[in-house]
């Protein structure tokens, strides 16, 4: 058992959200209506692009600081930020090329949670597809420049407590095969984590098969990119052979159920992945909701719906490991969860009644952010009585940034 009784609290190690797009917190509640442009993932993306088009380092900082504070108040102490918004709206770099990455790291540090900044490579809209409006910000004029930025981030932050730098390959759709190879070499040489959206949407698979004659996971396996620092995000649409390939490599799969539910992504077969030897972690992804307990239990619960059986993926302790130690490992912070801790109110209405040998079960299957009382990162108390130490100020900054962004985007 990970959860331990401590007086009037239940203590658990720090929780990691291994896949985050912090700026998407600005979209929450704003695109749930039916409309010509809101019925699918691909149109949700349109709204996201409109908002993303307006972000600058200051608004990025304000939105991310709120997003991370909300995560911290839900028990999350480490985040993997899959960062793909690099340059100015037209694609022109900022004077400080990494200004937006720096803003994200600063936001996490000011909130007091650990961050692994996963610098994204994004080259194209898709195979033989020109960039779409709004994507210029994601792209670099050359792979070399992108890798220089990665190196610059690594150099500047390598001694910073609570900060890691990793590589993210956006997807097989958005990165050419040769670039995947070159960037992976750089990351592997430096021992960095490598994250990649893989097999999230059915359309992505079709396009990958058309270009490469293989599905995305098969392509990554074929080219030798799967290893124990590789994190496949989503892995929704994979077959047995792909699950075995991920498992054989001891690669991670980052399941992001609250986002996958929200976007209508379908559901990865976590049971098969775990049996194959793959490692599971969880991510808040689009910030549809910020609840690491729901992320953890949803892996099991949604597979129950699919299989019409109970206890099909894993028991509570394994799910809590996925939300904690495995998430830390997936973002290059193995073991550090034990320097962080989350104290849940043992008398929270959702937890009351669990027997002493069932605390993990109670935390995973019943807890919600309401139970979070105190959160400590490396000995620093950042949340007490369920509220972040600078919550009021962080809220004000967030709301001001939101007004500005929505007005500018006409949303």
């Amino acid at each position: 058992m990970l959860a331990k009784r401590r007086g009037s609290h239940i203590e658990i190690p720090g929780l990691a959200s291994a896949h985050s797009h912090a700026f998407q917190r600005a979209l929450r509640s704003q695109c749930q209506r039916q409309s010509a442009s809101a019925g699918s993932f691909w149109s949700w993306r349109g709204y996201m692009y409109a908002l993303a088009g307006q972000l600058d380092p200051e608004t990025m900082y304000q939105v991310a600081r709120f997003a991370y504070a909300e995560l911290a108040m839900a028990g999350v102490t480490a985040v993997g930020e899959f960062h793909y918004l690099h340059h100015q709206a037209g694609g022109q770099p900022y004077d400080t090329r990494t200004a937006l990455a720096d803003a994200l790291i600063e936001a996490a540090q000011d909130v007091g949670i650990r961050i692994c900044l996963l610098r994204v490579i994004y080259e194209r809209a898709g195979f033989q597809q020109a960039l779409q409006a709004g994507q210029e910000r994601f792209c670099d004029s050359s792979l070399d420049l992108a890798l220089l930025d990665l190196e610059s981030l690594r150099t500047r932050y390598q001694d910073r407590e609570g900060v890691q730098i990793g590589l993210a390959l956006h997807s097989v759709r958005a990165v050419r095969r040769e670039s995947i190879r070159q960037a992976s070499q750089v990351a592997n040489a430096a021992g960095m984590p490598v994250h990649m959206h893989l097999s999230e949407q059915a359309r992505e698979l079709e396009e990958c098969v058309a270009e490469h004659g293989m599905t995305p996971v098969a392509l990554m396996a074929h080219d030798g990119h799967l290893n124990e620092r590789f994190v496949a995000v989503h892995a929704t649409h994979i077959d047995d052979a792909e699950a075995l390939a991920l498992g054989h490599a001891r690669a991670f799969v980052c399941v992001c159920r609250t986002t996958e539910r929200d976007l209508g992504d379908g559901h990865c077969d976590a049971s098969r992945l775990l049996r194959s030897g793959a490692r599971l972690c969880t991510g808040v992804d689009s910030y549809a909701i910020s609840d690491p307990f729901e992320e953890a239990r949803a892996i099991e619960l949604d597979q129950r719906t699919r299989d019409q059986k109970r206890t099909v993926v894993a028991e509570a302790s394994t799910l809590l490991e996925a939300a904690s130690a495995e998430g830390y490992a997936a973002i290059g912070m193995a073991g550090q969860q034990d320097h962080d801790r989350v104290l849940l109110r043992a008398d929270d209405a959702a937890l009351i009644g669990a027997s002493e040998d069932r605390l993990d079960d109670a935390v995973v299957f019943a807890a919600s952010p309401r139970a979070v009382d105190r959160v400590e990162v490396a000995g620093q108390l950042i949340v007490s009585d369920g509220v972040h130490r600078e919550y009021q100020q962080i809220c004000q900054g967030f709301e001001a940034a939101l007004s500005k962004l929505r007005q500018a985007a006409g949303l």
Copy 2:
């Protein structure tokens, strides 16, 4: 929009949980492990029976009072209690025949929420199946005696503010066809709601077809029992014709996603039901978790997973109606939700950032019990600062009852 800005709060009408088995709150967190006896719905039921076997009016009261207080703290102001535990462990009636029903009503009244006590008819384990151990408590020695109890409850509570009495038919498995007919006649003559578990498990369908040559919903439609006071609980495994039959009758379907997820029940096609004209409401059912916001959004989100599209069942306002007005109507309290109100903290981290025209969206898709600040039922404040006015005392009673029950049941 139902949700309204009120100063530092977002106000919503009272929420109803139209399907509850309050005593099952005692099971939470206790049967999530893998074992010979915990892998399926039918073995979860074994644990439930062991615990149910030990309940008496005092422990029933204590467990239910806690269960209802937890619901109230999550914004639920009215509950439909599907009550099937009537007699002493061996089947012998209590001196006051309705002692356990009375305990449930007293618990709800002491907590301050509205209750519709749905008195269950349960006659048999199944077609040509003798009663199983543990089921004696559910059964009456004759249907006439059961209907006398129903009448006695109705007479005694008909003038009690906040109390309704309704009929529940456990399932087509557990009630003979002729008894369904007789009991429905009594309920219809009195204008009572009639609730019934319908098509929850695949096995139930097979047995019903074997006995009646029809699936459960088809049987109820054929015999003329579907009407606008009829509530089909779950309706997981139904076909197009059955959806149309429910819709044509303007019957309710009570969706209980957090329980259905927990028990591996599969997933009802809420989109088809709504299109067919059926009315949707929600229920906490087994108390796997007590979160009416998750119940409401899960109807939409789980259908997104199934259909791999967004906004497939309904928008937020319709889902919030299902969790509120429709739930009240399903338990015979149409319109009373407007005399109750739930005040959510507008600065809850999950709700911050919603624009003024998207408050329903924020409440349904992002709120959690943490946001609940004040809850009023018929002008009475029962929850303030998120805590029930008698929480400490209610917790103590619950924990003492749990110890006693678990010890007696050897759990």
